[in-house]
């Protein structure tokens, strides 16, 4: 039986030019759910080093109203 490697590769390790910054809120939207929760790294495939940076950037973006803290799906 052949072993299929399903491990995801970190997008930021693949593309070192990509900056992790709170100002790049459109990129950060990929790493939060519709509710506004931060998606864990083992789901998105982001490595732990970059996941820490992504988390910090998302929290900064929330502080300055670029991203929402929470989004109630029942209202929309």
């Amino acid at each position: 039986m052949a072993f299929i490697n399903t491990r995801k590769v970190c997008t930021f390790c693949e593309n070192p030019e990509m900056k992790i910054d709170y100002k790049e809120y459109k990129i950060l939207r990929k790493f939060i759910t519709e509710q506004g929760k931060i998606i864990p790294g083992f789901v998105t495939g982001v490595c732990s080093k970059h996941q820490r940076q992504v988390t910090r950037a998302i929290k900064r973006a929330r502080n300055i109203a670029l991203l929402s803290y929470s989004n109630d799906l029942r209202e929309s």
Partner: protein, 186 residues
């Protein structure tokens, strides 16, 4: 030398002259408290992710400045007391994170609705998106040519059916499609 940046959300009601006054006022404050303004970017009016002081929109402005001893506490107190500023955030940055100011304040205020500030990463992504559909379109063209190559062979086998189809197509312009179907059945 330490580098800082402050993101400020200005009240959406302020436009042109008033907006510039407010931006210049913040720049003066930075200089007053021991900082040198390196660049100023006006992102323009954007929708906020949540209501801030009962406002749905706000004008995002980014100030980047440097200095050895910048009195950030006093500067932040000034921003807090300013009624035209909805929210602000000051963080420390590295030297390589500083952006070059390409346009003057007036040009940014006038043209902010026409050319919104797009970061380099987003630009690259959009370029990739533009290139991808072209490739798909080319592949579709190839498929069409393949079908076109195959089509004459089929048509050569059954020429009578094609003639019928053409007749129905020409009739559709003058009469209803339902009547043409009935005629075909007859």
């Amino acid at each position: 030398m330490k580098y800082y940046e402050t993101m400020v959300i200005i009240h959406p009601a302020l436009e042109k002259g008033h907006l510039k006054d407010n931006v210049v006022n913040v720049q003066d404050n930075i200089q007053k408290y021991g900082g040198d303004v390196v660049s100023t970017e006006i992102w323009g009016k954007k929708r906020l992710a949540y209501y801030v002081e009962k406002q749905k929109y706000g004008t995002f402005t980014l100030f980047q400045y440097s200095g050895e001893k910048v009195n950030l506490n006093e500067f932040n107190v000034d921003l807090e007391h300013d009624t035209n500023i909805l929210a602000y955030m000051t963080i420390r940055i590295e030297e390589n994170e500083i952006r070059e100011q390409k346009e003057d304040l007036d040009a940014q205020i006038d043209g902010r609705s026409k050319t919104p500030v797009v970061s380099e990463n987003i630009k690259k992504q959009s370029d990739e998106d533009k290139t991808k559909p072209k490739v798909e379109a080319q592949s579709e063209l190839v498929d069409d040519t393949k079908i076109a190559e195959l089509a004459p062979i089929e048509s050569a086998e059954e020429p009578e059916k094609e003639d019928k189809k053409i007749d129905t197509e020409t009739d559709e312009g003058s009469t209803d499609p339902i009547t043409t179907v009935q005629e075909e059945k007859e």
